[in-house]
């Protein structure tokens, strides 16, 4: 976030007197009505598509809901059943490992890479950015990566052989399948571009001042780049935690959750339960996941001070 510059004309007293949240905008009556006209649809949308399904899912988890016919209240049956389900425990284990790995590999690494890249000559930087903007996402990339990961003729095996490493089974390896699912994300560098944008917003005088004050490369990164990135990191980390705990699409398409249950995430599992007509069980798992994400997010938001300048 860029430093707020104080316009030259203000006196010291005036600046001190002005609170950060300046006086609320006084809106005319008409504008106030307009304001509500903008807010109400969004709020309704949030209510109908955000909160209603949540409440509905919560209610559903206490029933033996089915598509047709009577629905009866079954109390905590789904909860006790799913609590004791070994496959759900396994799915949570996979999900946590996946989330932890993907945060370290696709969240932390891009921060470092972005920070290091900013030190590169502009020409190198441009090329790297171009590489990352190549269309490596979506359906096309699942086909591409399935091909890359083929243990027989895939490009990755070729690279492994070239490096003289032992042959890999890639997605067929239950110990490494999660890593290989995350690996394309490292190359994709998605959040890195956001960090780079944020880094570009840091006044260069901070770095120059630090250099003059005797800071070396790492001290500059540690005392300037990272603290300045903190609001962005915080936001991205929240998304990353929530997103990775809800991973579904990529493992579903790439490995179908296999081999065995090695890459089956909680959302994949609850999707399967839904398809197996276990609506109550499925929503119960959704509630479990919701609760865990909620707790993690609350803990994180409580202990992590977002604004570095306050």
């Amino acid at each position: 976030m860029a430093e707020r510059t104080i316009p030259g004309g203000q006196t010291e007293e005036a600046i001190q007197a002005a609170p950060v949240e300046s006086a609320p905008l006084r809106l005319s009556r008409r504008s106030r009505i307009e304001k509500w006209m903008f807010i109400i649809p969004a709020a309704l949308f949030q209510l109908v598509w955000g909160w209603f399904p949540l409440v509905f899912a919560f209610a559903l988890s206490f029933t033996d809901a089915r598509v047709r016919g009577p629905i009866s209240f079954i109390g905590l049956q789904s909860y006790t059943r799913m609590w004791g389900d070994p496959l759900l425990g396994e799915a949570f284990r996979v999900t946590f490992i996946y989330a932890a790995m993907s945060i370290v590999l696709t969240f932390v690494i891009p921060i470092l890479v972005a920070v290091l890249l900013m030190e590169m000559p502009p020409r190198v930087m441009r090329w790297m950015m171009l590489l990352w903007f190549l269309p490596l996402s979506g359906i096309a990339s699942t086909i591409l990566w399935k091909y890359m990961y083929n243990p027989e003729y895939g490009l990755m095996q070729g690279i492994v052989r070239l490096l003289g490493l032992p042959e890999q089974r890639f997605l067929n390896d239950p110990n490494l399948v999660l890593f290989w699912l995350i690996f394309p994300g490292i190359l994709l560098f998605g959040p890195g571009l956001i960090y780079m944008a944020a880094l570009q917003g840091i006044p260069s005088s901070y770095y120059e001042a630090a250099e003059v004050e005797g800071a070396g490369f790492w001290r500059k990164i540690w005392t300037i780049s990272l603290p300045r990135l903190r609001p962005v990191i915080s936001m991205m980390l929240t998304f990353a935690i929530i997103g990775s705990l809800q991973e579904f699409y990529w493992p579903q398409i790439m490995s179908g959750g296999g081999p065995g249950s090695a890459s089956r995430t909680v959302v994949m599992y609850l999707y399967n339960l839904w398809g197996n007509l276990r609506f109550g069980d499925s929503t119960t798992v959704a509630i479990f996941l919701f609760a865990i994400i909620m707790v993690i997010t609350v803990i994180y938001r409580t202990f992590y001070k977002e604004d570095p300048d306050a």
Binding site: V48, W49, F52, P53, L54, F56, A57, L60, D64, R66, V67, R68, G69, Q77, T80, R81, M82, G84, D85, P86, L87, K146, Y149, N150, P151, R169, L171, N172, D173, P174, V177, Q246, F248, Y249, Q252, M254, S255, G256, G258, P259, G260, S261, R264, V267, Y269, L270, Y271, N272, L273, W274, G275, N276, L277, R278, F279, D281, S282, T283, A286
Partner: protein, 542 residues
């Protein structure tokens, strides 16, 4: 339970029709009923995912696939007779259980659905889903269109018991298929390998897979369920579950027979030592079909319904034969499901039907099935076929239904018959396998379950592990874990069927099985079924 037999039917249908699953997070699904496609454009709108009927083909589509001209002509005739009806295409993967159940529960399902996919690819599961209200009763249409009288006795006996539930019907029959193993007959001749006998066994299959393996080619294309198939073809589906009426859920799994470990070990040897299996956790049906028609695989399990694509279709076996430059029968051979070395065998023939989504009104249901009746079993069928022939002059393009449920192997306006297109031997062999005795289906004896129960995930994980994990897998431990997981999950469920009704049903089912096997395969009966029946089932049923 003959789950895996249907699996490759699913694979075929998937290839033939659907592409992408409607993947929606659960919460939005629950609220998405409001977003169902508008259904009141004309008086009656039939919504289809493209199966079994598509909307009227466009001129470009007919240009691209001339055989569609016959379809267009027939459908137009029907539409002329039924004013006010239109077809609308939607993108829903009706072959994916999760996707179609999601769509049905969200109110976005098409008019036509496929019952077996909704039921998790078992007949019992489909019946359970029907009872839960995921499909509409098609009984009135069965009666109105006189279906009972149109089917061959074989088709009728294959369809009616499974689809008649109380006084309702789950699906409307349209075709019949079965799984077979297709292989490269030309390669066998080239390599001097003797063709396997009609009653071949898994030992023959394994030997053939090894023999067909060479540089750049693997013997057997194997999706995840192939590990299960070797067990199922030895009677695993029957022998691994035992009734347990004393529990809340009335079934338990028991995989303790060392035979299963022996078979899985043998299979893994084929995969990981002989490297004779074309298999990867990321493969989909397309990979296997492509591998077979491109010569990277010598042996592939397919459904006969998908096997008779004309040479005009890319990726068809007929097209491959054309590329090789030999008649179809010299390039492609097939055998039915191999027998177990314990004498077990199965007849995987089934009659496929179309079901109707539960939100369909009576009038739409009637028109939707009227159209199906006309196009598959009425005058529309011959119109289609004659039109196809006129447009292509290709008998292979016309005769792609090897087991017609109405017994018609010739069509009005088409010179020739199925055997002229594909060879007499092909037809004879199919009829041989279709005529094998069929073991009693559990779904016909057990009372219909109304509650959801444990699904097959634990075992599917086991097959996946067996199939893909290269090192340090102990099949015994994998099986044991699947069994224990399933049983522990089952402990959380309770059945809607009371114990007495369950025991009654189970007794008749197992008695029928006992009688069947005693007659159909004395070897299996004596060596395996009887000792198991006496030691596991009878004590459980008291």
């Amino acid at each position: 339970m003959n789950k895996q037999n249907l699996m490759s039917r699913r694979q075929f249908l998937k290839t033939a029709l659907a592409t992408s699953a409607a993947v929606l997070p659960v919460t939005s699904v629950l609220a998405s009923s409001a977003s169902a496609p508008a259904r009141v454009q004309s008086e009656i709108t039939i919504i289809t995912s493209g199966w079994p009927l598509t909307p009227m083909p466009t001129a470009e589509e007919i240009e691209a696939d001339k055989a569609r001209a016959g379809y267009a002509e027939a459908l137009q005739t029907w539409l002329d007779e039924n004013p006010g009806v239109t077809f609308q295409q939607v993108e829903v993967n009706i072959w994916d259980q999760q996707a179609i159940v999601t769509a049905i529960s969200g109110g976005t399902a098409p008019t036509y659905v496929f019952p077996t996919s909704i039921g998790g690819w078992t007949n019992a599961g489909a019946r359970n889903a029907f009872v839960q209200g995921l499909m509409a009763d098609v009984g009135p249409a069965i009666e109105k269109y006189g279906l009972i009288g149109k089917l061959t006795p074989g088709a009728l006996s294959g369809w009616q018991p499974i689809n008649e539930i109380g006084d309702a019907y789950m699906s409307f029959p349209i075709d019949s298929g079965m799984d077979v193993f297709h292989y490269r007959r030309d390669l066998l001749n080239e390599l001097g390998i003797e063709e396997p006998p009609l009653d071949w066994t898994w030992d023959d299959l394994i030997a053939l897979a090894k023999a067909l393996t060479a540089e750049g080619r693997q013997g057997l294309a194997a999706p995840t369920w192939m590990a299960e198939a070797i067990l199922s073809d030895h009677g695993f589906d029957i022998l691994s579950q035992v009734p347990s009426p004393q529990n809340g859920w009335n079934w338990m799994r028991d995989t303790s027979d060392p035979k299963w470990v022996e078979l899985l070990t043998e299979y893994r040897k084929l995969v990981f030592e002989d490297k004779a299996v074309y298999s990867d956790v990321s493969y989909t049906t397309d990979n296997f079909t492509n591998a077979f028609v491109n010569g990277a695989v010598g042996l592939m399990r397919t459904n006969v319904l998908g096997a008779f694509g004309s040479a005009a279709q890319e990726n068809s076996m007929a097209a491959m034969a054309n590329r090789i430059g030999k008649p179809y029968e010299e390039v492609i051979g097939f055998r039915g499901i191999p027998r177990g070395d314990n004498g077990y065998f199965s007849n995987p023939i089934y009659v496929g039907g179309v079901a109707i989504g539960p939100d369909t009104n009576d009038e739409t249901l009637d028109k939707a099935l009227g159209a199906v009746d006309y196009m598959f079993l009425g005058a529309g069928w011959d119109l289609q076929k004659a039109g196809q022939y006129a447009a292509t002059q290709d008998l292979q393009a016309v005769f792609n239904y090897p087991i017609p449920i109405d017994g018609k192997y010739t069509y009005e306006g088409v010179p020739g018959a199925f055997e002229d297109a594909w060879g007499q031997r092909t037809k004879d062999d199919i009829l041989y396998y279709a005529g094998l005795p069929k073991a009693p289906d559990e779904a016909l004896y057990m009372p219909v379950e109304q509650n959801p129960g444990p699904d097959n995930q634990a075992f599917e994980d086991a097959w996946s592990t067996i199939n893909y994990v290269a090192d340090e897998v102990d099949p015994a431990a994998v099986l044991k874990q699947a069994q224990d997981t399933w049983n522990s999950q089952a402990a959380g469920f309770s059945s809607s069927v009371d114990d007495a009704a369950f025991i009654d049903g189970a007794k008749t089912y197992y008695e029928a099985l006992d009688a069947f096997w005693k007659d159909a395969s004395p070897e299996f009966y004596e060596s395996t079924f009887k000792p198991w029946y006496d030691s596991k089932v009878l004590p459980a049923l008291g």
